[in-house]
Amino acid sequence: MSDEQIEKSRILLVEDEENLAHGLEYNLTAEGYLVTLARDGKEAIKFFDENDFDLIVLDIMLPYFNGFEIAKHVREKHPQMPILMLTARTQVEDRVKGLELGADDYLTKPFHLKELLLRIKGMLKRKSWYQKVVIENPIYKFGNNEINFENLKCTKGKKEFQLTSYEAMIMKYLIESKDKVVTRKELLENVWNMNPDIETRTVDNFIVRLRKHFEDDPSDPKFIVSVRSAGYMFQV
């Protein structure tokens, strides 16, 4: 997807605060996105079920169904749909719950317009890259593991489990760069769209989780190996 195509992405904006929703709709439309506005949880689920969207901007405190319930519904039907949660709630429990239920990013009110637009663009770019590589190879097998990159379902022997969208993206990136060293910086920039100077240990923690999923002995990895002072390498 080119920059021009990203600009024409369809965004479902779920916000019940009338003034804020109006301002967001104006700005997203000005950026070239096609925006559908849902003013409560019922509308959000109805619009999501009836239309195709590229990204969802989701408030948490909503009438009828809250943002967590909507995120869960979206994830069940569309595991890769990028969700940006937008909320006045700043408690860590809310953030953790949102991320656990499948939100890809979280922005607290009041926010900066520039930051919001950058995050949306980053999420759309990641989705576009992921979709492109998944169409080529939706299922990947290594050792006794199998990953379905479309529905994020995995098997290890007889054990079945589900990857999160970030875990899947890291795995896909590593597989795409098979037998090559991938630096932490590279992963942060391409998967998280983050400044690599800030959060390099984030990558290490995700690697720990992926090793637990796919390695027979996570302390002696055979597939996702560390390359001293450089990063990680996927090998079969």
Binding site: E17, D40, H112
Partner: protein
């Protein structure tokens, strides 16, 4: 749960990975992120919630009562068995001492003391439960106020940044200024209602009471509220006649009807209709305010006037609010020596509020020189 020490925990989630406050079971309960902010984790929250739940307190209370009952039985057993021994020893050592009757004073005294202890326990647990409920309501209030403050603030910031960073047509600019003004007004009203609550709690009222004609003034106040909430005049119907004077602070009564009209608009799905009925009995002017909104569940009717109380229901079309509106309404009416009652036939069947205000009657003294002027609207 005993917290022992901070240890490095590399297995914790990314944002909380650097250090963990751990329990004896070595499961991280408290974590610190890279900026040294501490965070509770889910397990810790579950433990805390369990500790403060009503069931937890009830179990503790029942256990305390069982302990008290055991102590009481032990006391009776000890007294009875030792009294027999004292009598036997007394007869052997000094047979000339004759017990006419067993001394009941220490026995009854012991029971009274233990009963006092039990009453104290009941009182302590009662207050503890009230405190726990208040804390939960207060936490909800803080979350709601945060939401209510941040939403208009975000909207103002968004429009300012939009105006600053984009070429906005003049017409849109005017629209944006109008929206920002509405948000600023919302913030002002919220701050004012919090300050009003603070002064109510301290019983510091700054009211400006005047005598008004009940029907005329209240009708005008309600129409002003309707205009403020952008309701059509045709959606409000007036009937009845009170035909009397009332002593009121006009601004406070405006706050009462602002809150009632606001609630009606927030909690209605179909086109809103508000019915106002005036009545008069011997000492009171009655104003019935009813709407065709979503109504109030029966179990909530008594609670809706409580401070910070909000109804959480999936079918409610609005999630905004602080839980202060109807509390303020009740306090203002009380301050006017009046009463307010809520009625609803249940969910989806509308709500009715009956306000009773004392009729103002001129006292003989006031006829001589202090006669109050009746204000005409």
């Amino acid at each position: 749960m005993i917290f022992e020490l901070f240890i490095l925990n590399s297995q914790a989630e990314p944002d909380y990975r650097q250090a963990s406050l751990v329990s004896a079971s070595h499961k991280p309960l408290y974590t610190r992120d890279s900026e040294w902010h501490c965070h509770r984790n889910d397990l810790f929250l579950k433990v805390m919630k369990r500790r403060h739940s009503f069931a937890y307190n009830l179990i503790i209370f029942i256990l305390a009562q069982l302990v008290w009952l055991s102590v009481l039985l032990l006391w009776i057993y000890w007294y009875v068995s030792n009294n027999i021994i004292f009598e036997q020893v007394g007869e052997k050592v000094s047979p000339q001492i004759v017990y006419d009757a067993p001394s009941v004073f220490p026995f009854v005294g012991g029971i009274v003391l233990l009963t006092g202890l039990s009453i104290s326990l009941v009182l302590i647990f009662r207050h503890l439960n009230i405190q726990i409920k208040l804390n939960a309501l207060y936490d909800n209030f803080i979350a709601n106020v945060t939401h209510e403050l941040k939403s208009p603030l975000s909207s103002i910031q968004l429009y300012l940044e939009t105006l600053n960073s984009r070429e906005v047509p003049e017409e849109k600019k005017k629209e944006f200024y109008g929206l920002m003004m509405r948000d600023a007004e919302r913030l002002k009203n919220l701050v004012n209602s919090i300050l009003e609550i603070a002064s109510m709690d301290k019983k510091k009222f700054n009211r400006d009471f005047e005598v008004y004609k009940a029907d005329e003034t209240i009708k005008k106040i309600i129409l002003e509220s309707a205009e403020q909430f952008q309701l059509k005049e045709s959606s409000i119907k007036f009937s009845g006649d009170a035909g009397c004077d009332v002593l009121i602070d006009r601004n406070s009564i405006k706050t009462v009807f602002d809150n009632l009209v606001d609630n009606s608009t927030k909690y209605s799905v179909a086109p809103l209709e508000i019915m106002i009925k005036f009545k008069r009995n011997t000492k009171k002017a009655e104003i019935e305010f009813s709407d065709n909104g979503i109504g109030i569940p029966h179990d909530q009717i008594k609670k809706i006037f409580q401070k910070f109380h909000r109804i959480y229901d999936k079918d409610i079309p609005n999630v905004k609010g602080t839980g202060l509106g109807l509390y303020v309404v009740r306090e203002i009416i009380k301050n006017h020596k009046g009463k307010i009652f809520a009625f609803s036939e249940g969910k989806g069947k509308g709500s009715k509020f009956k306000i009773e205000l004392p009729i103002y009657v001129e006292k003989k003294k006031s006829v001589k020189g202090n006669k109050k002027d009746i204000k005409n609207e």
